[in-house]
Structure formats: structure tokens, C-alpha cells
Symmetry: none
Subunit: 183 residues, 4 copies
């Protein structure tokens, strides 16, 4: 006993998976612990409470996008190449993300009651939009770039919901393709 069994990041990843597939409220600390091969109480060694797991989960995903997707806007590539790369990575993420977009899910499930969550979620979507706007501004005036970015994000989020219901990959990918026709 008292041997290191898990890392904080591992718990976070298991929790994220559960939150996405079962919903946040519907996932118990016992569920998370089970998934990690720990007992309930042990989770509290790593996280103060369930809310903290939720918050760190949101931040973790948000940072993943910052580092791996939103940063593409600063690479030295052609506009079209950048957008292609962004769309590709984004599609990849959501195609393999069982249960959709946790940020969007928690936006509807609990953000009304948790200001800290809401802040991270709003920030995530704002950063996403800014990333796309910056790339699109290479070809479009600012306000048009903003409209395109907003519409892409919205339709992708809607498409993720549909993908979850129907498992139709083609339809999910259509949203990105659509954006790429614009540059």
C-alpha cells in the first residue's frame, strides 16, 4: 500500500472521459476512482473536491487547444495551409473525442451555477474565435473574418452534438471543409 498508482493527469483524463460520456453531475467520485483503480477517498489526495476536478478538466482541455491547435496561427505557413492544419487537428480531436466537447457540454450542464467554470468556457471560445479571426484576416476584412469564425465554431459545435447522436463522420467533417472553401 501507499505505492504511487496514479498521477493527477491520469485521474484528470479518466475524469474527462467520464464527464463527456456520462455528464458531469452524473459522474460520481466513485466512478472516477473506479476508473483509476483507486478507492473514493484517494481522489481527494489529488483534488480538493469534485468541482476542482471539473475546473481542472476544463483548463486541461483548454490548454490542449492553446498548445496544439490555436498556436498554429503563428506558424509560418500560407493562410490556406494554416487553416487546413487547424481544421484537421480540430476534426481529429472531436472525431476521437467520445462524448463531444466537454467545454460545450458543461456550458449547458452547469455553467449557470458555477462562475469559475463559465469563465474558463467563455475564454476558451473567445480564444478559439480570435485564433481563426487572425488567420482569416489575412484574406478578409475584420468583421467578415469574425462572422466566418463565429459561424464555423457554432456549426462545428452543433455538428458535434449531431455526431454524438448519429455517429456520421462525414457530416462532422463537412463543417471544416466548408470553412476551407472560403480561403
Amino acid at each position: 500500500m501507499a505505492i504511487k498508482k496514479t498521477s493527477k493527469e491520469e485521474i484528470l483524463n479518466k475524469a474527462i472521459n467520464l464527464f463527456k460520456t456520462q455528464g458531469f453531475s452524473n459522474t460520481s467520485m466513485a466512478n472516477i476512482a473506479d476508473e483509476c483503480g483507486l478507492i473514493k477517498g484517494s481522489i481527494y489526495h489529488h483534488f480538493k473536491n469534485k468541482d476542482e476536478i471539473g475546473l481542472e478538466a476544463l483548463k486541461y482541455i483548454s490548454e490542449y487547444f492553446d498548445k496544439n491547435i490555436f498556436s498554429i496561427k503563428d506558424e509560418t505557413l500560407l493562410t490556406k495551409e494554416k487553416l487546413e492544419k487547424i481544421v484537421k487537428k480540430t476534426d481529429e480531436y472531436f472525431l476521437n473525442s467520445n462524448g463531444g466537447c466537454l467545454l460545450a457540454n458543461l456550458a449547458t450542464e452547469v455553467s449557470n451555477q458555477n462562475e469559475a467554470y463559465k469563465t474558463v468556457i467563455i475564454d476558451y471560445f473567445k480564444t478559439w474565435e480570435e485564433c481563426l479571426v487572425e488567420v482569416l484576416e489575412e484574406k478578409y476584412p475584420k468583421n467578415e473574418a469574425q462572422d466566418l469564425a463565429y459561424e464555423y465554431i457554432c456549426s462545428l459545435q452543433g455538428a458535434i452534438i449531431m455526431f454524438n447522436l448519429t455517429n456520421n463522420k462525414k457530416r462532422l467533417l463537412k463543417i471544416g471543409k466548408n470553412l476551407l472553401t472560403k480561403v
Copy 2:
């Protein structure tokens, strides 16, 4: 005692409001009862259990759309007029719907675990799409009509999530306006 305090529909409406603003799992029977001025146990005179409330909530909203929005496709109006009316009614609904689209919310929160819910939700979105396709086919070939309908529904669903986070009405309305430029 035994005074009629509420109707089934009244309970349903209060429950829908709670489900949309707090999430389904996060809403307890006691929450619903409180909202109705009843005590927990009394809800069971109207509904078999919580799952039934959820299911009837989904059906109730679905039927509202059938009767008040999807039926517009059969009215004797010009294509553009029909679409305008559909968009207007849809926007109205979601602008006043605190907490977004319950069908979409439950699609992400619990549809993975409740087949009955999933069926109603899939059906709702299918009917919605068919409604739009039927109208758009008056001007477009079938596959283009389908794409337009799908993209509208997706982007509206995404926009509803954003509206919930930012409360920016204009941006929500932009989605419908966008569709209307197509006819």
C-alpha cells in the same frame, strides 16, 4: 388536503425550466416539487418517476416544434415567407428559452445512457431537418437543400450555446438571417 394545486403540464414546464438551467441530473425531484409548491412525494401522482418527467419534457418540446414551427412548411406561403416564418418562430423560442435547447442539452448529458431519450432527440432533429429540406427543395436540389438545412440547425445549436454564455442576441439572430439570404 387533496386540493388540486397543479396540472401535469405545469409541473412539466417548471421541470423543463430547471432541466435547462441546472441540467437534468443536477435537478432533483425536490427541486421540481419546490418550484411547483408541492412536496417531493406529490410529483409521483403525476409522473411515474424522474425518467418519465425527462421523457415527457422532451416529447412536450418536440410536439411544440411540430405544431408551431415544423407545420409552417405546409402553409400556403411563398418559399421565402415560409422560411422567414420558421426562422422567426425558432428565434423567438430560443431567445426566450433560458438555458438553451433541452433536446440538445440532454443529447450531451444523458442520451448515451437512455435509449428512449436518444430516440426522441434524434427524431426531433430529423423532423426539423426534413421540415427545412422540404421548404428549401422548392429552390434547391435535394442534396443542397439537405446541406443547407443541416448547416443551419448545427450553427443554430452552436449559437444557442454561445448565447447562453454571452447573452448576445444579435449573434444568435445572425444564424437565421444567414439562412434567409439563401432563398
Copy 3:
């Protein structure tokens, strides 16, 4: 099932007994429920939480003293008779009170962390002192009456602690006898 098994007052009495003999923090909701022949959760039908039980316990005892002991000061009796009656009833209470004076116990155990408790406890001792002062003023100037009252209450409280440790009744009763020699 769902038959009435207990009243709020019954639960309160059982809880008071446990708090006095085991301490407040050391008494679990399960302990209280067991004592009442209920299961843990059922207690919450009667009390919001454990703190509420503690608070109501304090108030319940405080009211008992108000009604049955402190009120004696207003009866139409000679000074000595009043004091004798007060002392007799007080002694009776504490001789039969397994575990001492809950108000004093909670004063040391949790009043530092619970303002609501502290208020009730302070008030109880103030009322007790005022009761005695009023009677003693029939024979003594105010400040002497206050000193006598204060010293009696203090020494009785200390004697209750000792009684709990030694079970020596005579020594407990000595405190009251001592007061009675003063009138």
C-alpha cells in the same frame, strides 16, 4: 413503511442524551438515528442538518429552564421558599442529567466556532443569573445579589463536572445548600 415512528421532540431528547454522554462532535447522525429506531437519512426529514439539531437541543433545554425553573422567581412565595424551590428543581435536573449540562458542554466544545450556539448559551446563563439576582435582591443590595448568583452558577457548573467524574451526589448538593444559607 412510511408510518410515523417519531416526533421531532423525541429525536431531540435522544440527541440531547447522546450529546451529553458522548460529546456533540463525537455523536453521529447514525448514532441519533439508531437511538430513534430510524435510519440516518430519515433524521433529515425533521432537521435540516446536525447543526440544527444542536441548536434546537440548546434551545429546548434553555426553554425547559425558563418554564420550569427560572419562572419560579415570579411565584408568590417567601424569598427563602423561592430559592429553595429553584435550588431543588435545579439539583433534581442535574442529578438526573447523565453527562452534565449540555449548555456548558457545548460552550467548551464548539461555541468558539458556532456563533448561533454561543448566543443561546450566553443568553441561558444570563437569564439564569437574572433569575437568581431578582430573588436575592429581596434580601441583598444589587451588586451583592449579583455576586452571589454568579458564584452559585459557577460553582454549580464546576460541581456538575466533578459529579460526572466522581458520581458523588452529596458534593453536588452542597452547592445549593451553600446558597440557601445566605437567605
Copy 4:
């Protein structure tokens, strides 16, 4: 790692403070560790378990009284001087003792359930009484000396409870002054 951060006595002192202000059951090992700048587990290098901390706390205080207060009875002073010194040191101790008398507190909180604690507590009060009796016997017959000693200890213990509630120093000191008028 493995730097000496604390001594057993330091932990004991912090623990005593917590036990007095929060109660024994209400103080967790984590609370104690926090106060010492350690983590929970480290406490176990100094004490076998929580019960041992409690027991050593009681003994520690008891020994303090033995060495610093009860020993005064053997000093070569006049009766009045001895009693004055005892009262002064006792008052000093309790005036600066946030949370009252731990021995008395644990007498009410847990002595019913822990015989080892009870023994130390009973012994402490017995030794205290014997100390006072020995001094008072220089002026009074044994049984009167015993009554005076008992009444002083009781009323001081009660007064400590009141002091904790009201913070009225004068009233606490009155108990000692009272005793001193007797010699």
C-alpha cells in the same frame, strides 16, 4: 527531506491549543499537522495515534500544574502568602489559556468513553484539591478545608466556562479573591 522541523513538545502545545478551542473530537490529525507545518502522516513519527496525543496533552498540563502550582504548598511561606501565590499562578494560567481548562473540557467531552483520560483527569482534580487542603488546614479543620478547596475549584471551573463565553477578566479573578478572604 528528513529535516527536523518540530519537537514532540511543540506538537503537543499546538494540539493542546486546538483541543481547547475546537474540542478534541473536532480536531483532526490534519488540523494538528497544519498547525505544525507538517503533513498528517508525519505526526505519527512522534505519537502512536490521536488518543496518545490526547493523553499526553492531559499529562503535560497536569505536570505543569504539579511543578508550577501545586508544589507551592511546600514552599516556606506564610499560609496567606502560599495561597496568594497559588491563586495568582492559577489565574495567570487560565487568563492566558485560550479555550479554558482542557482537563475539564475532556472530562465532559470524552472521559465517559476513555478510561485512561478519566484517570488522569480525576487525579488532576484530586491533586489540586489536596494541595489546597494542605494549605488551608494550617487555618481550618480538615473538613472545612476540604469544603473550601472543593468550592474554590468548582467555582473556578465554572468561572472559566463563563470567561470563555464573556471574556470578562474581572469576574474570573473574583473567584480567587474570594478564596483569599478566607485566610
